[in-house]
Amino acid sequence: MRKVDMPERPGWREAAAELGFTFADMHGEPYWDESSAYEFTLREIEDDIEDPAAELHGLCREAVAAIVASEELMTRLAIPEPHWDLVAESWHRNAPEIYGRFDLAYDGTGPAKLLEYNADTPTSLYESASFQWGWLEEQIALGVLRPTDDQFNSIHEALVDRFRTLFAPGTDLHFAAMAGNPEDYATVEAMGWAAREAGLGAHYTDLEKIGLSEDGQFADAEDRVIGTLFKLYPWEDLLRDPFAAHLAGAGCLLLEPAWKAVVSNKGLLPVLWQMFEGHPNLLPAFFLADVEAALSGGSPAPAVAASFARVPHLAREHVVKPLFSREGASISIVENGQVTDASPDQGYAGHPKIVQAYQPLPVFDGFRPVIGAWMVGTACCGVGIREDRGRITQDLSRFKPHYIRD
């Protein structure tokens, strides 16, 4: 793994605008940045990212089974009690999952470490699956990259296959996002293209415009009944919305399914550590409530005391994350017992928290990349990299393309 400076494609900004990629520059800062790219060997991709991501996915599914069977864990993960059955039933019915993204810390050596799992509403799908792909093809055509270079990115094809496997031809799917957010919309539309290519009907509706019919079904902005709804809106919010009461009776298949509420939740991380302590791709993690006293010299909760004692460095070197947090909000880093970094956005500060061992991100040319490993179904099928100058990757981080050279 290395970072390589390379010429930008002439006119790529105009091309991006034409393709509708309007947030290629956000808030005056470059978001898509192709002045350099990350190079991987095939071995790094396959052995260090693809296979571990598929394995992590399996561990997460084991964790789901354990969490939905435990009232204690459902409580700790702040799943609203009236919806425990909805979440558990969606798991027991094997409600299908479409996609997800593991965020990994990886520097080209040693095992990639799971920072968190965006299991429910991962974005940057368009730039990962599509714009990055176009970059590789064009850079090969321009002679900047070699014809033998490749990219770990079959995300689009995997999504098409996934939709084709799950739904009969002609099935109507609705896609919803909150209005007015081009980044979210781009992810929803990339998903819609895949559904359409799979021979399905793809319809968009703003999430806020969804209505409820007399007989308790959800309907789109044009009053059409919604049979299947892909929603780019997190379950932790959905379950607290007024219409949540109608989820069970609406006869609507939701994508991602309700059981994703227990994995798109930082509470997953301590559960994984409890179940698979010492796994090479996991970082030690605990519920803050269990170890808060221990962090200031007291004792941890008895249930985790032994486990906590096996990671003596964690008390002074860790990251505190709220259960629900997007784009790095409300995260703080503790080093040598002191808070050395905290994200300015404290919007989630009031939520329950977890602590995770601090895994510094590698630094390449002044920037710290996070590897997004894309899952479709149960397979890892691509990588999207975001990097930031700061240690907490936030919504203004840059997206960097990558290629494989062997």
Binding site: N118, D150, Y185
Partner: protein
């Protein structure tokens, strides 16, 4: 083994994208005609890329797709809400078969296209939509008119799913809206 997609949809074109197909796909020269006669007339005066025989073949194909795949509704008013007043009839009236309790739009023209390497022209039926524009059978694509030349994506000529024998679309009665989105905690929901 290749680790990347062989092809992907490259563009995101704003809120209309779900009603537009054909993003950077193969483009096909196409022409729309309100009826068979106008197609034949254009062919005779040479103002069309298509011959009279093409007109006949394509019209027959569009009519067949129309019978099999036109949108079907459970009430005339639901159909007219989509396609405009006077633009619908019962399945019996429109196709000469079926029932009188299912309603579908009248054929309002057809799109004829030439794809390289395919001997015969391709065709799709066109329907009025309530906003004065025209749509294809699935309603997924909207056109500004039912005559004139255009270029459309090749997928526009894929065969739409059949609607014969399927439950017709009904208009649900919506009693409330806005029950989702209120708990939003951030301005972007991705991560």
């Amino acid at each position: 083994m290749r680790k990347r997609s062989h092809r992907v949809a490259l563009c995101i074109v704003g809120a209309a994208a779900f009603s537009l197909a054909g993003c950077r796909e193969e483009e096909v020269d196409a022409q729309a005609f309100p009826d068979l006669a106008s197609c034949q007339a254009a062919a005779r005066v040479g103002s069309s890329a298509f011959s009279e025989a093409d007109c006949d073949t394509a019209f027959a194909e569009a009519q067949q797709i129309h019978v099999e795949s036109a949108p079907r509704y459970d009430a005339l008013e639901v159909c007219e809400a989509e396609h405009g007043e006077g633009a619908c009839g019962s399945e019996q009236q429109v196709t000469g078969g079926g029932t009188g309790s299912i309603f579908m739009p009248l054929l309002a023209g057809y799109l004829i296209g030439n794809m390289l390497g395919r001997g015969m022209p391709m065709a799709q039926p066109l329907y009025r939509s309530s906003d004065g524009r025209f749509t294809n059978a699935t309603g997924a694509t909207s056109y500004s008119g039912n005559s004139g030349r255009t270029q459309v994506g090749a997928s526009q000529f894929e065969r739409p799913p059949t609607t014969v024998g399927k439950p017709p679309m009904s208009k649900t009665t919506v009693t409330s809206r806005g029950g989702f989105g209120g708990s939003a905690t951030g301005r972007s929901f991705g991560g």
